[in-house]
Point group: C2
Chain length 162, copies 2
């Protein structure tokens, strides 16, 4: 809390005028950060684009955002797995997945995505892959170029295409 106060150029006591506990502070920080991060994923997405290109845009957004805001992503995940998460957090996480599940559902209706797979599994397959890619880039300098990104998306497309 001392460090937080110093960063904010206020006194420690002042924090407690706006937040009940340290946990309350972290809680609110988590929720804000989560929302901001998620908004980025759908940036520039338009339902009018071709389905495949739209999906690619979203996952490339995710990849780039995770690389550029690695510490944020890392904090969010650690916190999510901590004993501090409550129903609020879980509900927000569900709500956030919703748009992507809807897009996947649309893909099925267009006959482009395998309809024998549940949406969650499709979501997890792509999320997991791109998460690993970003982490490997940050942690072990796995190089990226246009070709690698295209290949990665193609791989995940093969995973789900009808």
């Amino acid at each position: 809390m001392g460090k937080v106060a110093k960063q904010a150029n206020i006194a420690v006591g002042t924090i407690y005028l706006y937040f009940k506990h340290k946990e309350d502070l972290l809680n609110q920080f988590y929720l804000k950060l989560y929302q901001v991060n998620v908004d980025r994923f759908l940036e520039h997405y338009s339902p009018n684009d071709s389905f495949r290109e739209g999906l690619k845009l979203i996952w490339v957004n995710y990849l780039k955002h995770r690389i550029n805001h690695y510490k944020d992503s890392h904090f969010l995940e650690q916190y999510y797995k901590s004993p501090y998460v409550n129903d609020n957090h879980k509900r927000l996480a569900e709500q956030v997945k919703k748009p992507l599940h809807d897009i996947i559902q649309k893909g099925k209706e267009l006959g482009l995505v395998r309809s024998d797979l549940d949406n969650e599994m499709i979501f997890l397959g792509m999320l997991g892959f791109f998460r690993e890619l970003a982490d490997e880039y940050v942690g072990n300098c796995y190089i990226f170029n246009e070709d690698r990104i295209n290949k990665a998306f193609e791989m995940s497309w093969n995973m789900i295409k009808a």
Copy 2:
């Protein structure tokens, strides 16, 4: 350290006869846990099995092990991303990936796996997917049955097959 000592039925001071610091203790614990965990992945694997079945066995091993030892896996990942990791840890991680990279390489040579993808990307694609599946099971009760596991492997197979 007090809790560790209590769990081990020894006095706090005794710990310092065997470990320099708390960090040293964690370090050695990490390395031991990592090795044990990894040994499990290749359990019952035989190079004589069909390539596809062998690969499936490994990833199902991974999935099951991660579910049954979730706290261990979680600790290993947190620690790996912490400032405490040193070159020892990184080297061990590389060494551990080796057998899987070799298997992937074999798949390429048999003409079963796309050879235009680098081994690391193939590895990450599968790892990411199964990791997410396990986490979703533990964190959000994503139900598993034989069918779902088969589907998941089939998806990742489509991702990499020639």
